[in-house]
């Protein structure tokens, strides 16, 4: 976990993995039924949600417990723009990402200035709940009922129209859009900016001495993560065709954290794997009614207590002959909080 490189292999390797995943995803509608296609679409959106969270947590060492606020902001922005203001969908998507970025800038400027660690996490939780309250009490956002009946858009480029409401077209659009977002996130990791963030996570004091503007970097990555999260949220509006204030509830903020920890936060693909595995677990236990709480809880406990590196961490340990460096040093961390 505290290794100096954000393990993800080279960019080229990851681009190939992404391409392979997208190709596999495009085959899904031919093989599985509509319900599973719906879930697959959700998995892609959740994967982007998780990866955005990990930009903050795994890459930069910033723990945010309020990412749901950006997800909800993006979803509601897209809903309002398309349903009430007749904005074409792609434009609405970009605007939603912008809304997420602006919100993150506002929250970040205020919150990052004043706190870090656990305090920052709880502050983001408080802001998210604030947004949740505001949405639930605003008439034109539908209050507690949210906005329903959102239509799947049709895209037009000049004389060429694609109707995303027909068949599985919107699913393909989701795969494409999420693929682009994932490629963007991956690109960030390998830039000098990304490497600087890793240095900040390692040792913020030393990074400051080296001339890296720590607070500014954290703000920028917070804004970027807010934008990609909002973009993912915007995709959910036409996919589920309803947006409700639950999207901003703190339990939705825990989702990307779950995906990331389950898959392994030290690995680029960790959140994606976590999203897939968790969705599979929920799907398989869907008829085991009433037990979903217990199953999720126990699964997570086991992962966190015995598999802190997540699934990918476990696989890495198995494929490495020498025992991995145990990054948890009890004495050092106990006294330094």
């Amino acid at each position: 976990m505290h290794t100096s490189r954000f393990l993800g292999g080279g960019q080229r390797r990851d681009h190939l993995i992404l391409l392979a995943l997208m190709l596999a995803a495009l085959c899904v509608p031919g093989v599985l039924n509509r319900g599973l296609v719906f879930i697959a679409g959700m998995v892609w959106i959740n994967a982007v949600f998780g990866l955005s969270f990990n930009l903050l947590f795994g890459l930069s060492g910033v723990l945010s417990f309020g990412q749901a606020m950006f997800f909800a902001a993006g979803a509601y922005a897209a809903a309002v723009l398309t349903q009430q203001m007749a904005v074409p969908f792609v434009a609405a998507l970009l605007l939603a990402a912008l809304v997420g970025a602006v919100l993150a800038a506002l929250v970040g400027v205020v919150a990052l200035r004043r706190s870090e660690g656990v305090y920052f996490a709880i502050l983001t939780l408080a802001f998210a709940e604030l947004l949740h309250l505001l949405i639930a009490n605003t008439a034109f956002l539908g209050r507690n009922d949210g906005l329903a009946g959102l239509a799947r858009p049709s895209l037009g480029f000049g004389s060429w129209r694609v109707d995303l409401a027909a068949g599985d077209n919107f699913y393909y659009f989701i795969v494409l859009a999420c693929g682009l977002l994932i490629a963007f996130i991956r690109w960030i990791v390998d830039t000098p900016f990304g490497r600087a963030l890793q240095a900040i996570k390692q040792d913020p004091e030393r990074a400051e001495f080296l001339g890296i503007p720590v607070r500014l970097h954290r703000l920028v990555i917070f804004v970027l993560a807010g934008a990609t999260t909002a973009a993912a949220g915007a995709l959910i509006a036409p996919w589920a065709q309803i947006v409700t204030p639950e999207l901003a509830h703190w339990s939705n903020s825990t989702n990307p954290i779950l995906y990331t920890l389950l898959g392994g936060s030290a690995y680029f693909w960790g959140p994606v794997l976590g999203a897939v595995v968790l969705s599979a677990v929920f799907y398989l236990t869907r008829t085991l009614v009433g037990m979903s709480d217990m199953v999720t809880g126990l699964l997570l406990l086991v992962v966190v207590v015995s598999l802190p590196g997540g699934i990918l961490g476990l696989l890495a340990r198995w494929t490495r002959p020498a025992p991995a460096v145990r990054a948890r040093v009890a004495i050092e961390t106990e006294g330094s909080r």
Binding site: V31, L36, M42, N137, G146, A148, S292
Partner: protein, 417 residues
């Protein structure tokens, strides 16, 4: 009764194991007729969802024993919607994708509103077993959504009329209203009806006080209760719901709030408050989707109560179970009438259908897919028995006399908005 005992855990494990390997279920033409049951089976609405499930299962058992529908046995495909639209959508799409076009369940308003467009797109039918939103018959109307049970406006108006009839001298009214859409709309409909019925029946003009808005989803109602105390109203209409309502009544006891009113009218909690508080409950009127005593002598009702007792050891099935029961019988009649279980045929035959249920015959209005049925109102008082409460009065109101005329596609408009 609602414990998850080992036997059911094993049963569900086996079912899950069986389902785990079958992602794309083949459409069965001659096998059992599968009907989807999408209802909350975990989370805050779990308790009510369990009634829906039991009622549906009993209906299916009864129907199968009598030969099934068009000669085919009926099987329920049960999915948990967690009272959450995203989970409901996933479940609905899965079932629709597997070839199941008829569904029932749905008690959460958000879920019902979310499923409307999907059912239309994917050519399915969905019946709600007790969602409170009036929007599904108004601006969110969809031909694929049906409400085989009480219309929210019919019950609320029946309650207001009953108040005017039985308590003509109670003219100062206030409300305990949860601060969300359903709460506010229910209160508006009640007020509108008070303003219509009191002058007509009691020959007095009612004084409507500013309702007390109760925070939603919290554990402390004392400030709202204090506000209500200050108002000194004579009659109170409570729209708070479920566990929140019980907590509010519990805390109100300490203040002696309910004792200060001449009449307490509760919108929709059936026996929840009575069972929660037992001897400590304040006497109050409430609406029931189904009250067994009021339907004694109706063979369908008697059989329903007996089967429910045998299955769950619960002698008092709450209304939602009966709504689920009625929905399946509606499907049965519509399918048999049109000799087809295809969606468009079922929709056409559900519209205008009159069918028998445990509360007597009901008619499904063709214009807005809303059923017209008798409204059942009961007066509950504490009693020195094990149960802790008893129903000392009940009345059945003819639904036709109180329901609003249909206006699908249009927002609900009250005369006294």
């Amino acid at each position: 009764m609602t414990h998850l005992d080992r036997r059911s855990v094993l049963k569900y494990s086996a079912a899950a194991a069986a389902m785990a390997g079958v992602p794309g279920l083949v459409r069965a033409q001659s096998g059992p007729l599968k009907i989807g049951l999408i209802t909350p089976l975990s989370g805050p609405q779990e308790f009510i969802g369990s009634y829906v499930r039991n009622g549906a299962e009993i209906a299916v058992e009864q129907i199968n024993k009598a030969g099934g529908i068009l000669g085919r046995q009926v099987a329920l495909e049960i999915r948990d919607d967690k009272a959450n639209p995203a989970a409901a959508l996933a479940a609905a799409r899965e079932l629709l994708g597997a070839g199941i076009n008829l569904h029932t369940g749905g008690i959460s308003s958000a879920v019902v509103l979310a499923l409307g467009p999907v059912m239309q797109q994917e050519n399915g039918v969905f019946m709600t077993c007790g969602a409170g939103t009036e929007k599904m018959n108004h601006e969110n109307y969809s031909p694929n959504l049906f409400r085989p049970g009480d219309a929210p406006d019919a019950r609320t108006r029946a309650q207001a009329r009953l108040m005017a009839e039985k308590y003509p001298e109670v003219t100062r009214w206030t409300g305990l209203v949860p601060d969300h859409e359903y709460g506010r709309t229910t209160w508006s409909i009640f007020v509108d009806a008070l303003l219509e019925y009191y002058p007509a029946i009691a020959k007095k003009k009612p004084v409507i006080l500013e309702p007390v808005l109760m925070p939603y989803g919290v554990a402390d109602y004392r400030n709202g209760i204090t506000q209500a105390l200050r108002q000194q109203a004579d009659g109170v209409f409570n729209c708070t719901y479920g566990g929140d309502a019980i907590t509010m009544f519990q805390q109100a006891r300490g203040f002696g709030l309910m004792q200060r009113y001449k009449v307490v009218c509760d919108a929709a909690n059936e026996f929840l408050i009575a069972r929660g508080m037992k001897q400590q409950l304040p006497p109050h009127w409430t609406g029931m989707h189904y009250y067994a005593e009021a339907n004694k002598g109706n063979p369908m009702s008697d059989r329903f109560v007996a089967d429910y007792l045998a299955k769950t050891k619960d002698a008092e099935p709450l209304g939602w179970a009966a709504e689920a029961h009625a929905s399946l019988y509606a499907f049965k009649q519509a399918i048999e009438k049109g000799k087809s279980s295809e969606t468009q045929a079922v929709i056409a035959n559900l519209k205008g259908l009159t069918w028998d249920t445990a509360t007597g015959p009901r008619t499904m209005r063709a214009e807005d897919n809303q059923a017209i049925k008798d409204v059942e109102l009961v007066y509950i008082e504490p009693a020195a028995t094990d149960k802790g409460y008893k129903v000392s009065q009940y009345t059945k109101v003819d639904g036709k006399s109180v329901i609003f005329p249909p206006s699908p596609g249009k927002k609900l408009s009250l005369k006294t908005a």
